[in-house]
Amino acid sequence: MRKEWEGFVTGSWTEQIDVEEFIRLNYKPYDGDDSFLAGPTERTKECYAKVQELLVAERKAGGTLKVDASRIMRINAFGPGYIVPGKDIIVGLQTDEPLKRGICPFGGIKMVREEVAEFGETLPEEIDKMFDYVTTHNDGVFKAYSKEMKQVRHLGFITGLPDAYGRGRIIGDYRRAALYGIDYLIEEKQKDHEMIASRHVMNEENIRTAEEVSNQIIALKEIKKMAESYGFDISGPAKDVKEAIQWTYFAYLAGIKEENGAAMSLGRTSTFIDIYAERDLANGVYTEEQIQEFIDDFILKQRVARHLRTTEYNELFGGDPMWITEGIGGVGMDGRHKVTKNSYRFLQTLYNLGPAPEPNLTVLWSEKLPEPFKQFCAKVSIDTDSIQYENDDKMRPSYGEDYSIACCVSAIQMGQQMQFFGARCNLAKILLLGLNGGIDERTGEKVGPQMEPVGDGPIDFDDAWKRFNVYLEWLMELYVNIMNIIHFMHDKYDFERSQMAFLNSEVKRLMAFGVAGFSVAADSFSAIKYAKVYPIRDENGVIVDFRTEGEFPKYGNDDDRVDEIAVKISERTIEELRKHPTYRNSVHTLSVLTITSNVMYGKKTGNTPDGRRAGTPFAPGANPMHERDNHGAVASLNSVSKINWDTCQDGVSNTFSITPEALGKDRETQVDTLVGLLNGYFERGAHHLNVNVLNRSLLEDAYENPEKYPNLTVRVSGYAVRFNALSKNHQKEVIARTFHQGI
């Protein structure tokens, strides 16, 4: 046995890669409270102050501090960089300076050219010229798209597709670097390669995989070299907690050095690292204060990670997110919860380093989590608005005990699975298209199958439902085919070698589809069913508005009459998607999640039968439409909890804002109440909750006086942002959301 493993309980993990088993055999559940936690050291304060200073400068510069277009981002494109030279204890930056952004052109050179131009930089001629000969992912996709595919994309039926930049949502099991060291991982990959390349039938899949594994091996060697540049030899396993953090971080860092994927999750590292921490504490190698300091520095590094983005991109995914998502807590298959002291230490960074959107700390909630931990999480939410919650009791049966969260709400088994990210389609527009019989309501363009438009009304519910289904059927086929093209090309031209190096060589794949305009579609159908809806046509006969007479139930009030329509919409969508075969036999999944693209989707959608005006933002994710959930927080949560996660395994996102006064008159009550809300919501089978505890007036003041609130963090949609980093339009939409208030 390796001497770095001394003191660990051995199992088959010593003979083959099995981090999950290593954790199960070695972690110690912690049932105590937060009293053991250490505050920030002087060194931490100094580094944090430096970061604060840089963040202010970044905001003053309009959101991007520095761009370096002189070279293509690769693992070793830049030499070492530090936040405070000589003071960093967990080292490594994407470039050679904090907050400096580089270019990742293999997803799409076009976007890089735009990005660079926006910041007044120019691309060096040799890089520019190079892409006369090199095909990017973006080039490949557009060579394959049909006219109709381009049309639905351009009209806004499907938006935000990762066809011009890195797709993201891949989570390497970066813990492997710490537990095994890079050399062992290379050996294993070499064995895999030999096995795959020696198969009797070298079909496309085997050839592709063999090439991919070779590329992963090259990446692993480069990662070793990168670590060497910082003075570390990571060929062998980590020997203590500091090294375990450092090795894991180097592995993660390689991914964000060369890939600009939309979401670059960290995975599930806290309980893994705790095993090293416990061993070191027991052996007197490090103190609690030192361990907290390592964690603080690890988190601080993640807070200065950045990708270069265009203004257009920011309109979709507002607030400059990286989605460095880390899953905390949860329960094992043996029934023991997985909360450790390190679960607390990760959350403690929100005190030691102040509130912040990244990393995207995600508590995997279970009824079995220890009460003191639930209380601590609620306290952190109330104090910082920086964390989100996802239902471990829902996800565990499908994804096992060692999954993590890609982006906002998408579970992936660590080391075994990857995801093909697929943005989302616009449900409200599909309904409008059905009523118009195949004419886009905004442009008058013909799209999809053509049929007679709906009559003068009142619109018959069954007719509207039938029409919706005709166009859903048509669009979902197109959607699957578009996704197949995108991911074929991404694998071909922008393969994520450094992230995939930390996954099994033959991974299982999920293809993640999504919907937007969920509550608008449900409320519109409800209006058609329970009120009287009359179409209003323009001079060309295109339905551009509706006259709605009478009351109708609205999603978000725990009213089955409309909530059942919402459920049915999600079920019909995944049913249609599953009819169509996917690239690399990936499994179809569906999310009800919008990021901040609910604003953009709303912009591209005309008037709807629920009374929403053209261009008005949708509610985010599975949220009820703004202010329509007016029977209290429980009714609102209950409505969302009806969306069956089994049909939406890529996640059902709900962003929830409540005033502190509504939670109770004193801190103790507020914490208890929030724990009660989370318990109740998840017991109902709901999947996800973003929690903001604040008053609307605070956001209104921050809207007017941004300089007063440099660190104000809010959860927006499966992730958090610094409020100031949102565009004014996104800020307005967040302010317009329902704030559950005291009675």
Binding site: G632, A633, A635, E661, L663, N679, G680, R684, G742, I743
Partner: protein, 239 residues
């Protein structure tokens, strides 16, 4: 049996312990100066009628959130104006294992009150003012009903949360709080005493309803002053 409903709030965290499903019942005999629900006064106003099965439905929908401490609160308006309905609703809720609180203004007692009090698990009792004359000025009702209610509460050994809205110049002196401390000794089981600061958020409602707002110009209760007064409160059973 039917009750008259003002509205349902599925999430209440400030009207009794834990998370509560709150039924605001329509109708109130009092006309408190600072009432923030003037739309709940009229007996024939309100949203609609509600029957016991619907009460049970909403309570059931709230059950996972209630936890060990929470449950249902009947508020108003003055819920005891519908004492017969209340007693039956609370009995039915007990039948499905859900506890209930009655949030009362103490301004109304009739032949059904005792049954409702006997059935409930907690009373939130508004004192308004310890002084009879001032009580009448604030509530527009005699204080007698408050004493009758306290007798019923004690007779059935019910636990009580005392509540008192503190209004500048009406009951915001140290002496007022001292009087309150004395007054609440009449209640056998006081679990909690809550001083609620007067606020002006309801003023607009009056305008919409065309009712004169009689505390015009009175500022909202100062938070710091309220905290000072809170420190003077003595919970009798805690002594």
């Amino acid at each position: 049996m039917k009750g008259r409903l003002h509205s349902i709030e599925t999430f209440g965290a400030v009207d009794g312990p834990g998370i509560r499903t709150v039924f605001f019942m329509q109708g109130c005999p009092a006309r408190c100066l600072y009432c923030h629900n003037p739309d709940s006064w009229s007996l024939d106003g309100g949203e609609r009628d509600i029957e016991i099965p619907e009460i049970l439905h909403w309570a059931e929908r709230g059950r996972p959130y209630h936890g060990e401490k929470g449950g249902v609160t009947f508020s108003g308006g003055e819920p005891l104006l519908q004492g017969e309905f209340l007693a039956e609703a609370i009995r039915a809720l007990h039948g499905i294992g859900i506890k209930s609180a009655i949030d009362t203004s103490g301004t109304y007692v009739d032949e059904y009150t005792e049954a409702a009090i006997a059935e409930c698990d907690l009373v939130l009792l508004d004192i308004k003012h310890t002084d009879a004359e001032r009580f009448e000025i604030i509530a527009g009702r005699k204080q007698d009903t408050l004493f009758q209610l306290i007798d019923l509460i004690n007779k059935h050994d019910k636990h009580v949360w005392i509540r008192n809205v503190v209004v500048p110049d009406i009951n915001d002196t140290e002496e007022d709080i001292e009087a309150l401390n004395e007054f609440i000794k009449k209640v056998r089981h006081v679990d909690k005493v809550e001083l609620l600061g007067y606020h002006t958020m309801a003023v607009n409602k009056y305008g919409k309803l065309g009712i004169t707002y009689r505390l015009k110009g009175v500022p909202a209760m100062d938070g710091e002053r309220l905290a000072q007064l809170r420190a003077l409160v003595r919970v009798p059973s805690a002594e």
